[in-house]
């Protein structure tokens, strides 16, 4: 009985500690109804956007994100029928052109604190790089900020895949496909290159996770790192929808041993860039 109580207490303590970790482990994603189309000029995809712990299930409150649609001819197009439910944002893409479309959701948030009249204050929620200057009152000192940039993407192709939508902007963390993301087949190697502010970025952790975790029971995660040229190659074993994540965030420190003194939390980096793509892999 005593033993049980102790372990429960430990579990409770662990759970409390884990809250921030869990919150940051929630994953952002888009889920297209399908990704490959005949290209007859009048086809539709519907896309869900959500945040969740498991892929791809709706279990967190929906956020009012704005998708940007890049058309094969290099222009920006409008998504249609956008709606926000409790657990997801949804919209449709009308594929009228031939080639590859990209849907992107870009996020920016600044966290931090400052000291005013000897008192430390935290930045309110919802501050972005654009509104940061207004959020810090005159006379504030010891300003500490951490900027988080997110890019969530998915790709749709009508007919033959094309490359115009992959031209990098030179801002944030971006993916340049070596293997076209709408040309992925199970058992074949896929290569992508990652750029940070337009330059290849080495040694970043890449995680690829198959959807359907709830029923497969196992988190079939592929872990890799970008090479010196910013490229990473991996082989997806099965067909299905996959979530790909690359981040500049430092790895989380290993949990302290039981009884060991807890050190101060590591300082937040001044900037974290996070890239997510949903990829559909077809069976051979």
């Amino acid at each position: 009985m005593n033993k049980i109580r102790t372990s429960l207490l430990v579990a409770a303590a662990a759970a409390t500690l884990a809250i921030p970790t869990l919150a940051s482990a929630a994953r952002m994603w888009m889920l297209p109804s399908e990704t490959m189309f005949a290209g007859n000029g009048d086809e539709w995809a519907t896309v869900d956007f959500a945040i969740s712990s498991d892929l791809f299930y709706f279990d967190h409150p929906a956020q009012p994100f704005e998708p940007v649609l890049f058309a094969p001819d290099g222009t920006q197009a409008e998504v249609e029928n956008k709606a926000k439910g409790r657990l997801r944002t949804t919209f449709d893409v009308h594929l009228t052109q031939k080639g590859t479309y990209k849907v992107a959701v870009l996020t920016n948030a600044v966290f931090g604190s400052y000291v005013l009249n000897g008192e430390e204050k935290r930045l309110p929620r919802g501050v972005t790089a654009e509104t940061l200057a207004q959020a810090i009152p005159a006379g504030a000192t010891d300003v500490k900020t951490s900027e988080m940039n997110g890019r969530v993407e998915t790709f749709l192709t009508a007919g033959v895949p094309t490359d115009t939508v992959f031209k990098p902007t030179g801002k944030g963390l971006e993916m340049v496909p070596i293997t076209h993301p709408n040309d992925l087949v199970s058992g074949e190697a896929a290569t992508f290159q990652f750029l940070l502010d337009g330059k290849p970025v080495a040694n970043l952790p890449v995680a690829v996770i198959a959807g359907g975790v709830r029923y497969s029971g196992a988190l079939k995660e592929i872990s890799a790192k970008t090479g010196a040229d910013g490229k990473v190659t991996f082989t997806l074993p099965d067909s299905g929808m996959y979530w790909l994540n690359v981040t500049t965030a430092p790895p989380r420190p290993a949990p302290a041993a039981e009884g060991a003194p807890k050190g101060p939390p590591p300082p937040r980096p001044a900037r974290i860039d996070n890239y997510v793509a949903t990829l559909e892999v077809l069976g051979a």
Binding site: M36, F37, A38, G39, N40, E43, G159, V160, D183, V185, L282, G283, A284
Partner: protein, 169 residues
Amino acid sequence: MQIRHSLILTGVAAVSAGAASPALAETLDLTVTIPRMSVAEYHSPYVAIWLEKEGAAPRTLSVWYDIDKPKNGGTKWLRDIRLWWRASGRTLQFPADGISGATRAPGTHKLALPAGKLGNGAYTLVVEAARESGGRETVRLPVTVSGGKGSAKAAGTSELGAVALTVKP
């Protein structure tokens, strides 16, 4: 209905074969079996037949789909013949002369497909079937062509039955 389209297909095949000099072209005599199924909802499968050779672009020989749908509507689902769509289909215009044909009912179908001059070497004939509200299956027939001749056999287990190929000069 089925016969009419088969006749059209055979007719096109015959015309194409006739246009080329017989000495310079091979014909693929192919038998494809579409299994009979006892399912609540059955639609004849979309089928693609193509020829692969290492180092060469895959070549589509025949595609069966709903060619009678208005506004070329049947082409929307061609992408469900997935391996073929990626290998060759997405680069083609439909309807395609000598390639497009109607879907076929369960049974054994004999085809004579003009293949042009093949040359000696290793080829793979691929048959892929994708059925609405059903499954998808691919049967691959590796065949060595020598002097314009060769043969191969294989069989599917779900969406395709026996497939037999004879290459004739």
